[in-house]
Amino acid sequence: MAALHVVEAVEPATEPAKKRPPRKIRAFTIDDWFSTIGSLLASLALVWIVYDHILDGSGILGFAVCWYMAFLIVYAAVASVSNPRHIVVDRMVTVSLYIAAAIVIGALASTVIYTFFEGWRAFVHANFFTHDMSAVSPTAPLNQGGILHAIVGTIIEVGIAVAVSVPLGVGTAVYMTEVGGRGSKLVRTVVEAMTALPEILAGLFIYVVLIVGFGMSKSGLAVSAAMAVTMVPIIARASEVALRVVPSGLREASSALGATHWYTVRKVVLPSALAGLGTAVILAIARGIGETAIPLICSGASSFLNFNPSGVPMNSLPLFIYTAYTTHEPGAIIRAFGAASVLLTMVLALFVAARFLLRDKSARR
């Protein structure tokens, strides 16, 4: 057996310790950087030269695809020179993942940027937000007319839908988590199934039952009803999750103090779950304001500013966008993108609000 060494160890806090700074541990060596960048440039050059001859310049998309493939091949070859196979595979996967993430985020960014880019010419005009299209033809220049009626319509329709679906949705969630019982399992199954309902079927249902069946006219109210049909299951399910996450210890503590169940729910459970409930509502709203098929079926594309949800068709942002698009007139298209920008801004604002609600409130930053 080899001799054992006894080494004097440094005793903490009694000797002035020699302060060694942390080491920089590089996972990616210089060699790796060179091979990556080199492969990128080499494949770019290769594809650049070859592209025009073989592929007749099929556009940027095709070029990007070819560059990606060429890069993978070149990089695999280069990396294989000095690395065993499992490292090469790992590198290729890493590179592919970075590119996939870039593709998806890039697509999202291009959507948002393109919408604002095409729409800005509309909303530099103040009349875009303060007028409706009642006196104006769709092909009129941009300093006339606006989408006020669509904005107001969206707000009113969503407002009514929320006023109806939040009590129903949260109430159902409370039923499922707090009251329970045999029926609640059935309710949960059905509610989960209904979150899958395509919005157009909700619209169709309301159309046939209320509009054709009961003779109700196409109006904002019909749209709100159909929206509520899609929103209730979403709110119910997300709220159920939020309520279930409240620790049962809180409920028990409240009962131990002699509170009734209702009191416990009202004063203890709901306040604790408030952030989650708020997020559920916000997500449902974001879903509701973007629905196009429902206003298409249940309302008409009126051009008048209208605060009355019943009896008269009410326009809304998605419907406005769609009808403007169908004209295929350049002026109308710009207005469509302007309206789309407004819609997108609303969704973004809701989204930021949801993130704000869910922010990490602990001081552990």
Binding site: M1, A2, A3, L4, H5, V6, V7, A9, V10, E11, P12, A13, A17, K18, R20, P21, P22, R23, I25, R26, A27, T29, P84, R85, H86, I87
Partner: protein, 293 residues
Amino acid sequence: MTSGTEAAVARPQEIRRGREVSTTPRSPSEGDSRRGPAGLDIVEISAWFGETQVLDDVSLSVPSATVTALIGPSGCGKSTFLRILNRMHESVPGAKMAGEVYLNGEDIYAPGHRPTDVRRQIGMVFQKPNPFPAMSIADNVVAGLALTNTKVSRSDRTDLVETCLTRAGLWNEVKDRLSRPGSVLSGGQQQRLCIARALAVQPKVLLMDEPCSALDPTSTRRVEETIAELRYDVTIVIVTHNMQQASRVSQQAAFFLAEQDTPGGIVECGPTTDMFSNPSDQRTADYVNGRFG
């Protein structure tokens, strides 16, 4: 004891590893750089999690073919220290380290060394047994080979499975059910499976982070027997809270301590028998006599 005969089995066959073809095995005490146990020279290790320093200038020399026990109360940085030895510490976001760890004279943190290669040579067994549940027992044992692209022929594979399970003291219990999933075993058996899995990649050093703390006394005894027999094949560094275990299995021990809010370090280190019967530092004496910890 049946485990004695299990341990005295032939060494694993030649394995074709990526590009290199390994030579015939040497005897244990030579500390051969190709195969067999190796010693570690750990020089002035400091460790941080973010801005909090948890280890301060810790040095230790681990001779090859021995069992070294790291003892001390909880929270002194023993596990952190262990994870620095196989470069697992750096996988935690915000973790930093300083110092060098020499395996056969080469610093494992030098720029040319990949963490994955280091971990092939310095293996680890964890506190909670973690066999891969989606794989059979046999596949679990050779999982490390697949992960590091080490090619093994079919016959070599079965031999390797048998050898490693034997060295881990598990062969007789599972030889009839090698294709069952790893999760059907008991806790102690799972831990021995993890040991077999670690052995299959033929590391030079095996690190063990409180391997018996989640096991019942019988399984603990079996694992300790395995450890005692393994040291000729692989140098072992074991973190343990159980001082009796340390005195049972190790030849050398290092006592870790951290004062309140200060980084941890080694107070005393030496042959295990001396540490327990005649410690030089008062704090060591207090700890081994159960006055704190």
